[in-house]
């Protein structure tokens, strides 16, 4: 899976490369409009992570160029511009997703995975890790050949953990993935904990390995070898 990361902030670009490489993607990074134009002209990618404000031009122009050229690369915009109008503009130009800075890289990772799944429709809709198999189209989960009934939120949570397997995900990251950032969470009661607890119970009851680990109550991790 090839990913092009177009982001002029070098450290942020590197962080994304590190994270996504660890998740098994092949990453290339460019830092300017011109370099990005060359790359997308010569190569094609499964997904392009696109910043809008770039030295030398606008990311939206790159997006336009891609669509005029009838390229099928998936595009996810990462932008500091968070208004509804900006989002709508980006999506109307043909971006597959829009993420507002600052974002959780784990969130970026699941969104990229979702875009790639959508692009490669031929039987790629199943995500698996260890003894867990998740069909993202039929929204069903099979653990040790047995179907597990999960609520919608539990399904989202499991998919999120599986795609970001072997990585520590903070409670903030999980909460924002499941509920967005419009909601705030009372810190005196950890209801993500109860969610995780339910999910673990269901996995263990089906006979799966109890692979979700708590990290000092601050985050969770799906540990798989």
């Amino acid at each position: 899976m090839k990913i092009l990361i177009i982001e002029d902030e070098i450290t942020l670009n590197q962080s994304m490369v590190e994270f996504l490489s660890a998740a098994g993607y092949l990453c290339e990074s460019v830092f300017s409009y011109k370099a990005a134009l060359e790359k997308i002209d010569y190569y094609s990618y499964d997904c392009i992570v696109l910043d809008i404000m770039l030295p030398g031009g606008s990311g939206l122009d790159l997006l336009n160029y891609l669509k005029l050229d009838k390229k099928t690369d998936g595009v996810i915009i990462i932008s500091a511009r968070g208004t509804l109008e900006d989002k709508i503009e980006g999506l109307q130009l043909g971006a597959d997703d829009y993420l507002i800075k600052p974002f959780h890289i784990a969130e970026l990772s699941v969104r990229i995975a979702a875009i790639i799944r959508r692009k490669n429709f031929n039987g790629q809709s199943v995500v698996s890790a260890g003894d867990i198999q998740i069909d993202t189209v039929s929204k069903s989960v099979i653990i040790c050949s047995k179907t597990v009934e999960l609520t919608q939120k539990e399904f989202q949570l499991l998919l999120f953990l599986v795609i970001n397997k072997n990585r520590v995900l903070s409670k903030n990251t999980i909460a924002e993935h499941l509920w967005g950032d419009s909601m705030d969470f009372p810190d005196n009661y950890d209801f993500i904990y109860s969610h995780i607890k339910n999910l673990r119970k269901k996995i263990v009851a089906t006979g799966g390995e109890d692979c979700i680990k708590s990290i000092y109550g601050e985050g969770y991790k799906m540990q798989l070898l």
Partner: protein, 422 residues
């Protein structure tokens, strides 16, 4: 008071005063002129009598006409200097007492001394004076009336472009993409006003857009470093296995960056609300928004074991979908955050109002400060202190009124829509 009324009042008063003073002066001048004319006639008559006496050594026959009559009276000694006076005398021919101009002098004829009285009737001059005064009064009335009518018509026509300009300014919003463009006018004053306003708003418009761009860019530029911090925290988190203290510290940093980023978004939103950068024209189903926002929070509500009473009527408003969601989000967030465990919450929506109540162990909030930015009743790490300020701004923008009260140990927020349902 309108400029026209003010102008009219001053104009009318000064015109009337001028005419009254002028008329009085005119009356006296005219009276003086006419009287001196009569006096000249009297003097001519006197010299005629004197000439007659010199020639014939006796006084002439007393002359009697309707307007002038003379009397001769024998006297012993001469009277003082001859003098014309205004007095009353009996007119035999008219058989009435009339106002007269009277000249009395003494003359010696044939060894006898006569007192001569020449009476000149003033009736004619008085009639003339009366006619003149009448004509003047009529003219004054006519002038005042025509003045008033002309002014009214003219002023209305003249001020029309002014009112057009005012109307345009009233409807103008800075957030619009174009600067104000008032038309050129034939009248210099209005044209000057229009061109000045055009150039002024042009400048303001440019400044406003520069400032807006600056705010947006500054805010965006800040989001990128935040994203960097955030991503580095996530990276560090992966490396921190087995170091509990470090994980806690990293989470503190993450919380702080998230809070900073939300704070930023809230401030940007407030700025946009103040700049009136939203158009409230979308039909919005408030009921479904409330339902979905409550569903999103179902888990937290369950976790805090809140008793929530919800009564929702079907309400559609001309509003802004995104702003409606923000408003509901902020209100619900507050209610859920500040209601103690097992507390009760009430959410009631009717066509006219939305009321949100929640039980509190603490007393009433400070009504004056409640909707101010960064006001916090209690120091809370999660709260930005902007939630209610944003709700307040959205209400102001939409023409809603929001009220807070504390009734029987419950915080009550009421929002009155004040609008016709869509």
């Amino acid at each position: 008071m309108k400029l026209f009324d003010k102008y009219n009042r001053v104009n009318l008063t000064s015109t009337i005063i001028t005419f009254v003073v002028g008329s009085i002066a005119f009356y006296f001048v005219l009276d003086y002129v006419l009287t001196s004319q009569l006096d000249r006639g009297l003097l001519v008559e006197q010299s005629e009598i004197v000439d007659f006496v010199k020639e014939h050594k006796e006084v002439p026959e007393p002359l009697t006409t309707k307007h002038q009559w003379t009397e001769y009276i024998l006297i012993n000694k001469p009277i003082a200097l001859p003098k014309a006076t205004t007095t009353e005398a009996f007119n035999k021919l008219e058989n009435e007492i009339q106002h007269v101009r009277q000249l009395v002098f003494t003359i010696a004829a044939g060894g006898r001394l006569y007192r001569v009285i020449i009476n000149q009737s003033k009736t004619e001059t008085e009639d003339l004076l009366q006619m003149i005064i009448l004509v003047i009064i009529l003219m004054i009335a006519l002038i005042l009336l025509s003045n008033y009518l002309i002014n009214r018509k003219l002023v209305t026509v003249l001020w029309k472009p002014f009112y057009t300009t005012i109307g345009t300014i009233k409807d103008y919003r800075l957030a619009e993409k174009k600067a104000l463009q008032l038309p050129r006018e034939k009248l210099d004053e209005i044209d000057l006003l229009n061109t000045s306003l055009n150039s002024m708003t042009e400048r303001i418009h440019q400044d406003y857009h520069a400032l807006k761009m600056f705010t947006e860019n500054a805010s965006h530029e800040m989001q990128t470093p935040l994203a960097v911090i955030h991503s580095k925290v996530e990276s560090l988190l992966q490396l921190s296995q087995g170091q509990e203290a470090m994980v806690h510290q990293l989470m503190t940093i993450e919380d702080a960056t998230l809070k900073l980023s939300r704070l930023h978004q809230s401030l940007l939103l407030l700025a946009k609300l103040e700049n009136r950068q939203f158009e409230l024209i979308e039909p919005v189903n408030l009921t479904s928004i409330l339902q979905s926002k409550l569903e999103e929070r179902e888990l937290i509500i369950k976790a805090k074991e809140l008793k929530v009473a919800v009564i929702l009527e079907e309400v559609h408003l001309h509003f802004h979908q995104h702003l409606a969601e923000i408003m509901i989000n902020n209100l619900l967030n507050n209610v859920i955050r500040y209601t103690p465990l097992h507390g009760s919450v009430g959410i009631y929506l009717t066509v006219n109002e939305l009321s949100i109540k929640n039980y509190s162990i603490n007393g009433a909030l400070d009504k004056q400060k409640l909707f101010q930015r960064f006001y916090k009743e209690e120091q809370s790490a999660e709260s930005t202190g902007l939630g209610l300020a944003i709700v307040n701004e959205i209400c102001t923008l939409a023409g809603f009124s929001i009220e807070y009260s504390f009734i029987s140990q419950e915080h009550v927020f009421m929002i009155y829509f004040n609008t016709q349902p869509a």
